[in-house]
Amino acid sequence: MQSLQKIKSRFIPLRIENVDTDQIIPARFLKATTKEGFGKNLFRDWRYENDDETKPKVDFVLNQKQFTGEILVAAKNFGSGSSREHAAWSIQDYGFKVVVSSFFADIFKNNALNNGVLPVTVSDAFLQAIFAEGADATLSIDLEKQTITIDTTGASESFEINAYKKTCMLNGYDDIDYLLSMKEEIEQFELNHNK
């Protein structure tokens, strides 16, 4: 897994609530058997008319050239619905390292963390302050300090992440290595559990 310590970047503002994972990556793209290449289909049906790449929908933010960056900022309840990890893969493959929202769905949050994409939960007021910024504004995120800052105004807020997941993100460790190292403990647990 890719590690992440600090990031300063412009951001893409997605002012839509309850973005479900069917929108992030529609079901017809789940027929793949590898994790690669999902970025080109991120938000596919919001990006293109009639599934046609030559007809981008001009009012959708990913198609507006003034917006760019490695941070996606979305309205509340981001990533609801299906557990498909393809949603996190598509966000990462598109080039995002951080998703900021005032509220994340649980499964998406786990999936993002397991793929080196940092979900940053901010207050409603802070989210509105970010949305109020122009396309040239940048955000700075410091995972070690657990802070997010709007660079133009200096407004800053701290965010929550559990200590274990923070260590994993900072160092690029993954849970599977950790669990593999616990095998004997798990075997011991099973002896009692299966009685």
Partner: protein, 467 residues
């Protein structure tokens, strides 16, 4: 202080609590399907590791499968490759597979309970958010991502932060024509599509106790639609009667031993919840959704909300976007609106009881000529039972075709899709944009309300069709 049923089961499965982090939670049963498992198999192979407990995994093919001519090779090459990959992976890693053509094949959340694999007190996971279904048996069951599928392959554990626990009490009797799907749609409309996020939900009260296992599964199934990780209902005689004698149910002395353990699975009288909600069963009408998330629901006789009821600008914008997608006006009534499709199926409502409900309404009547149908049993076993009970004859006489088992038009990964702009009355669980096909307009309802639409071709209050 007493414990909730959730706490009792959770605590029994914690291998270790990581300081300042999640718990390592032991998983008793792992269900897999073709869509969310291939990358996990590849992952485990890349690490040079083996599946730790393959005998605790059961696989089936459901999301991609056609619902006609299942004896023929799958025509869609990508779907075929994904299903074939599951076959290869299961063979290579020693996992039991109920694939196409197997009598146990079906939607993963239908076959688990049906085969007696799902049992009280277990932890059950699957790379599918509707794994919450299995909580109806008094188990902790939740959906996971593919990285977590790989974790369970590697170590039969997942890393989870213990959620908060909410109890929803539903007391009293339901109106005639109101069923469990209406209960859960009512709850989600009340607390919103994110109101359960961070929680596990216990459903309790006399209205829940009165429900069959099939009806309880429908409720637990849609827990995820309010953001909750899962739902749980304490097991009782209804549960034990359902499980007894099923292929994977404990037998003989082992049954008695398990039954004694299961009877300990209840919430203690003095247990505390992080949140409690009380609902009067009689307040619940037949429900229908009008928007693009399952929280946007109302009584079938109700009116779409108006803009003045919303103050937040982003929310207003989202509400307008949803109504534009659905082709509806704020303040309008839905009763009498023509619908083009009726879909009866999905892990929410494709069990034998759902087919009995629909059959009871359409018996001796004719389908409305303008309605197209997708009627999909949840499993081969449900299909077999439909025939054994003669329900198929009732459908055929009404001019309705019953197809073969799979997830079908719930998410349209196979050929079963709803065309753009058309309305589909659906017994499934999600009305997201494009869920049933690009531009499709989904309205979630109970099997009874779907049956009414089969006959009238319109959104109908089923209560007006009952005595």
């Amino acid at each position: 202080m007493g414990k909730t049923i959730f706490d009792k089961i959770w605590d029994k499965h914690v291998v270790k609590i990581i300081e300042g982090g999640p718990s390592v939670l032991y998983i008793d049963k792992h269900l897999i399907h073709e869509v969310t498992s291939p990358q996990a198999f590849t992952g485990i192979e890349k690490r040079g590791a083996k599946l730790f407990r393959p005998q605790q995994i059961v696989a089936t093919a459901d999301h991609n499968v056609p619902t006609m001519n299942q004896h023929l090779p799958i025509a869609d090459q990508l779907s075929k490759f994904q299903v074939d990959t599951l076959i290869d992976n299961c063979k290579k890693h020693g996992v039991e597979l109920y694939g196409l053509g197997h009598p146990n094949q079906g939607i993963v959340h239908v076959i688990g309970p049906e085969l007696g694999i799902t049992q009280p007190g277990m932890t059950i996971v699957c790379g599918d958010s509707h794994t919450s279904t299995h909580g109806a048996f008094g188990s902790i069951a939740f959906g996971i991502g593919t990285s977590e599928v790989e974790m369970v392959f590697a170590a039969q554990c997942v890393m989870q932060t213990k959620p908060k626990v909410m109890r929803i009490n539903i007391e009293g009797s339901l109106q005639n024509g109101v069923v469990s799907k209406d209960i859960i749609l009512y709850i989600i409309a009340k607390i919103s599509a994110s109101g359960g996020t961070g929680y596990f939900v216990e459903y309790a009260g006399s209205a829940i106790r009165a429900l069959s296992m099939e009806a309880r599964m429908t409720i637990c199934n849609m827990s995820i639609e309010m953001g909750a990780r899962g739902g749980i209902i304490a097991p009782d005689e209804t549960t034990y009667t359902y499980i007894k004698g099923r292929p994977f149910a404990p037998q003989g002395e082992n049954w008695d031993k398990k039954l004694t353990q299961w009877k300990e699975l209840y919430t203690d009288a003095d247990a505390k919840f992080d949140l409690e909600i009380n609902i009067n069963a009689a307040d619940i009408d037949p429900m229908i959704t009008y928007g693009t998330n399952p929280g946007m629901g109302l009584s079938v006789t109700g009116k779409v909300p108006t803009m003045d009821s919303i103050s937040d600008p982003t929310e207003k914008q989202n509400f307008e976007k949803a109504l534009a997608y659905m082709g509806l006006e704020a303040g309008q009534s839905l009763l009498g609106m023509p619908v083009q499709y009726v879909f009866i199926g999905s892990c929410t409502n494709s069990r034998i009881e759902d087919f009995r409900l629909v059959a009871s309404i359409i018996k001796g009547k004719q389908k409305n000529a303008s309605v197209k149908t997708l009627i999909i049993p949840g499993s081969q076993e449900v299909a077999k039972q439909i025939k054994a009970e003669g329900l198929d004859k009732i459908f055929t006489a009404a001019g309705i075709e019953i197809r073969q088992a799979g997830c079908s038009a719930c998410l349209g990964m196979n050929e079963d899709k709803i065309p753009a702009g058309e309305y589909c009355i659906s017994t499934s669980n999600r009305n997201f944009e494009g869920r049933q096909g690009a531009g499709a307009r989904t309205m979630l309802v109970s099997p009874l309300t779907a049956a009414a639409a089969l006959l009238t071709g319109k959104i109908t209050d089923i209560r007006t069709m009952l005595n």
